[in-house]
Every structure is written in structure tokens, then in C-alpha cells.
């Protein structure tokens, strides 16, 4: 996983549970160094291990934590120098989601070692869309839900996400039904 993701996990833990909790997690997963480099590729085990350790410490379900981390990540990346790239990705939530593939294409050209997921939008209507999520990693669908909810917040919008298809023996990717809630527009951050 990209160092940026681990940085976001660290910032999420510290902001919600304090430095002491992060120190405990780092010891638990035997982190040799928690000064993550933003653009460095780290073993996925680090990220999975941190989330599992946080779940054990807090008693929260890992899926719930991943949704929270995803939401946090959407705001966090903007503070780490990616705000312009996110703004360039789209001027609205729907446009942003449609262009996520282009965003990841740019990232993967610049950083070939990064394994980026891909997204495809189908069945688009003024109030909903179907999002297809392909990834070599397993178990991160809840983080995608949180991530998109966090992105929607950036555009002053609220969305409902329904995990319609779960990747498994019958499906090679996850599918989400994304419903916009136009009546519940919220103030842009």
C-alpha cells in the first residue's frame, strides 16, 4: 500500500484515539519505523495489521473502521498536496467518480510500483449510478464506501452506498449502488 494510506491511518488513529494508542498499535504490528514516506510502496500487511490491531484495541468491527478511515482519507489527501489533483478530477461528485479511473491512470504512470484499483460507472441517472470496483486487494470495499462518502462531502453532497455485489466465487469485482441525496446537501468543507 502507498505510504500515503498508512499516513492517513496513522493520522486517523492519532486524531481519534491519541498518540498513545498509535504507539501501542505500532508495537503490536512491530512497525520498525512509523515515518511513512508518502510515495513509497509498503507491504499491504502493514495496513491490514494496523486496522486489525485497532479493531482489537477499540472493539469496533474492522469494516466499520475501514468506512471511517475511508471518509478520513478523502479529506486527508487534500492536506497532503493532492487537493489540486482531486479538484482536477472533477467539478462534481458524479464527474469525480467517472474520472477516478483517469486519476489512477495518472498515478500509475508516475508510480509504476503502485497497484491502483480501477472503477467503472454504469447505469448513471440524475440521482444514482452503479459503481464497479476492481482490485487485487481483498476486504477493502468498506473503505471504498467511506472514501466515496468522504468525497461526496467535499462536494457538499451526501450519498447512500449499497454494496450490491460482493466479490467472491460468483463475482470478480464489487458493485455498489450509489444514490445521491440532493435534498440533503450539506455545507462544503
Amino acid at each position: 500500500m502507498y505510504g500515503l494510506v498508512n499516513q492517513a491511518v496513522q493520522a486517523y488513529v492519532v486524531s481519534r484515539h491519541g498518540e498513545a494508542m498509535w504507539t501501542r498499535l505500532a508495537v503490536e504490528v512491530r512497525l520498525e519505523d512509523d515515518a511513512f514516506l508518502t510515495l513509497e510502496a509498503y507491504s499491504d500487511d502493514v495496513t491490514y495489521g494496523l486496522v486489525a490491531a485497532l479493531a482489537a484495541e477499540t472493539g469496533e468491527a474492522a469494516d466499520t473502521l475501514l468506512v471511517g478511515i475511508g471518509k478520513f482519507f478523502a479529506g486527508y489527501v487534500a492536506t497532503r498536496g493532492y487537493d489540486d489533483l482531486m479538484r482536477a478530477t472533477g467539478g462534481s461528485f458524479a464527474q469525480f467518480v467517472r474520472n477516478i479511473g483517469l486519476l489512477h491512470a495518472q498515478v500509475s504512470i508516475a508510480f509504476p510500483q503502485v497497484k491502483v484499483p480501477s472503477f467503472r460507472v454504469t447505469d448513471e441517472t440524475p440521482t444514482s449510478m452503479r459503481l464497479h470496483y476492481y482490485s487485487v486487494r481483498e476486504g477493502l470495499a468498506p473503505m471504498v464506501i467511506g472514501l466515496l462518502q468522504g468525497v461526496a462531502t467535499r462536494f457538499g453532497q451526501e450519498v447512500q452506498m449499497r454494496h450490491d455485489v460482493i466479490r467472491g466465487s460468483d463475482a470478480d469485482h464489487d458493485e455498489f449502488c450509489v444514490e445521491f441525496c440532493p435534498s440533503r446537501l450539506i455545507a462544503c468543507p
Binding site: 515515518a35 514516506l37 508518502t38 510515495l39 497532503r80 498536496g81 493532492y82 489540486d84 489533483l85 479538484r87 482536477a88 478530477t89 472533477g90 467539478g91 464527474q95 467517472r98 474520472n99 483517469l102 486519476l103 491512470a105 495518472q106 498515478v107 504512470i109 508516475a110 508510480f111
Partner: protein, 420 residues
Amino acid sequence: MPLTAELIPGLTRTYPFHFVFDETLRLMHVAPRYARLTTTIRAGALLSDVTRLERPTTDFTFAKLMENTNQDFLLRSVEVPQLQVHGRLIALEKTGQIVFLGTPWVSSLAEIADAGMSLADFPTHDLLLTVLTTVQAKEVAMADAQRLANELRTLRRRPEALRLSTETGVADAERLAGLGRLIGSMAHEISTPLGVARISASLVGEQRANLAAQLADGTLTRHDLRQFLQDTDAASAMLVANLSRVADVIGNFRQIAVDRRSEERRTLRLVPFVEEVLQQLAPLLARLGVRVDVHGDPEFADHIYPGALARLLTTLVENAVMHAYAGVDAPRLRVKISAVGDDCLLCCEDNGVGIADANLSRAFEPFFTTRRMSGGTGLGLYVAHNIAHELLGGGISAESISPQGCRIAVRWPATRSIDP
């Protein structure tokens, strides 16, 4: 003849910002994606009215454009100045039309959203986005490097801070121990004269009581009265002498408590300043006929506490006058100011009796004196030692010189800055 309809969809995919114009520069077709970003770049408008030619630098005429078709063109929208497109011109000879095949031009990712565009407006063959993404990644990496460098700097400072803290603690402990010894010595120094003064005072009291009794019972004789006056004169003299001694000790002791907050540093030319101080001490030196020479570069300057230097020099001169010149025919005092590396050096040399080797190492101890019976308090050189260490941040040493005399050297780091 218009551009063939079959060609346009392909152009739209590959060059989403293309347009077609004729030899009058009138736009005949504008790609929808380009057209949606302004209200002016439309078929029928004059290209030179709705855009500015940023590159190449030439007249915005059909003839000049044709002369430069081998170059990259950069056009800026008049209506939306942040919207720029770059590309090539291709002349369609059969129709007399010119096709501009272009893509958006931005110099940072921020400009994409600012111009109302998104990543989707850039064709995949355009490497501009990749370059800009890489540039942004470089900035992120630089921020990482800066953050890590700051953390490293903090970590490197920590052992130094611990070391300084330990050294400060040790220095404080030594200073407190020294203060304890000093107070003990001072108590010893003033207890003897105070004891003598008390005995003298009580003696006067007793004699006065006897005198009063004799006066009362009428036995007082002239001899008794004369004896009383002699005894009280002697007791008073002893009282004054011993209280003066106490006053001297306390007066000198107060000088030990050097207080750097009592004055501000100033940049001084040292030689003229030393001459000025010595001028004030001229009456003292004249009593013994001491000839004084000052040597040094008159322009040599330091940023220093003037009062501290004056007190230091005064103390050294007084010490020399008190101890050095007994029996010396032509007493002389030489003061030298010089720079040694990054330090200032002040030397006070006399041609007096010198300091015995056995006493050199104790010369700066508080209350050490060889002239106690002559009124020496043993605090003069200790005061000088404190000023050299505490106010000047340097050191002081004493040595015998040939053929006779003593040299007191004070060395301190020169301060060039206005505030340390």
C-alpha cells in the same frame, strides 16, 4: 467546402479542443468540449477576436499563421484568460481551411479546475498531465524530505540538550557548593573583628558603669577619670578598626554578586576605554608614583558590558597597588589589549614583588590574602575572577614574570553580534 462529417468524431476523441477556420480567420467549426468552456469561441466568430496568440510571437494574420505551421501554437481565450490550448495548424489545401489540432495547456494541476476543465478533457496521448502529476509528486516527496529532516534535526538536538542540561545541573551544583564555601569563609572573616568589636563595646560599657558608680559615691578621682578616657579611647579605636574591617569585607563581598542584567552590552574600542578607566584611577596610582602604559590596537573593539570591564580593571589595579609595589623603586603597570584567535586578551603586568609560586594557585580563592594584617580582604582577585567568568564568559590566570613582577591575564570570547 466544410470539413467532412466523418472526420469530426475522430478528431473530437483525439483532439477534444480542435477547431477549423478559413483564410479570413472566421471559425467554421469548434469542438463541443472546447466550446462549452466559453460563450465566444463559436462557429462564425473571428479567431483573432476571441483568442490571443501567445506563441509563436507573430502577427495574428492568416499569412503569418501559414508561415509558422511548423511551430507549436498557444492560444488563450479572451473571455476566459486561464483557458489556453496548444497544438498544430494543418492546412487542408483542397478546401482552403485550416484545422487546429489542440489539447488544453496548463502549467499546474490547479489550473485545470480553475479553467472549468477536468482530467477527462485531456486526451490520453497528451503527456502534460503525467508531467504535472510527477511534478506534484516531487513536491510531495520534497515535503516528506523536509518533514523527515526536521524530525532528524530534533532528534540530533535532543542528546545535545540533555548534555547541556546535565552540564548546567553540574555547574549549578558546583556554584551552590562554592557559594556555601564562600559564605562559610565570610562568616569566619567577619566573626573575628565582630567579636573584638563586641568585647571593646562591652569593655566601654563596664568602664562607664564603674565611672558612674564612683561618681555617685564620691570616690571618683582625677586619675580614675584620666584612666577611663585612655581606656575608652583605646576601645573606641579598636571598635572602629574592627567594624571597618567588617565593612570592607561586606563591601567587597557585594561586588562578587555580579549582575549582568544591571547593564547593557555596548560595542567598545577597548584601548581608549581602558585608558579612560585608568585616567579615573590616576590619583590612586599617583600616590605610589606608578607609571602606566597601555598597549594595543586603538581600533580593536568588542561588544561587551562596559561596567564589568571597568570593575575588572579597577580591581586589578587596586590589587596591584595594595600588594605589588612595596619597596619597588620605579613602579610600573603595563596594560595590554590584543586579539588571540576569536578571543580578547587583557594583560595587566606589574614590576612588583610578584606572587610566590606556592600562592599562585590560590590567588583567586575567596578570602585568600597574604596581607590580612595590612587590611587585605582576600576578595579582590576573587571579584576579578567572577567578572571574568560570569560576565565576560572567559577566564583569568596569574603568573610571575621575569625579572620581577606579576601578570594577570583575562581572556574572553569576542562578541561580534549586537545581542549574544
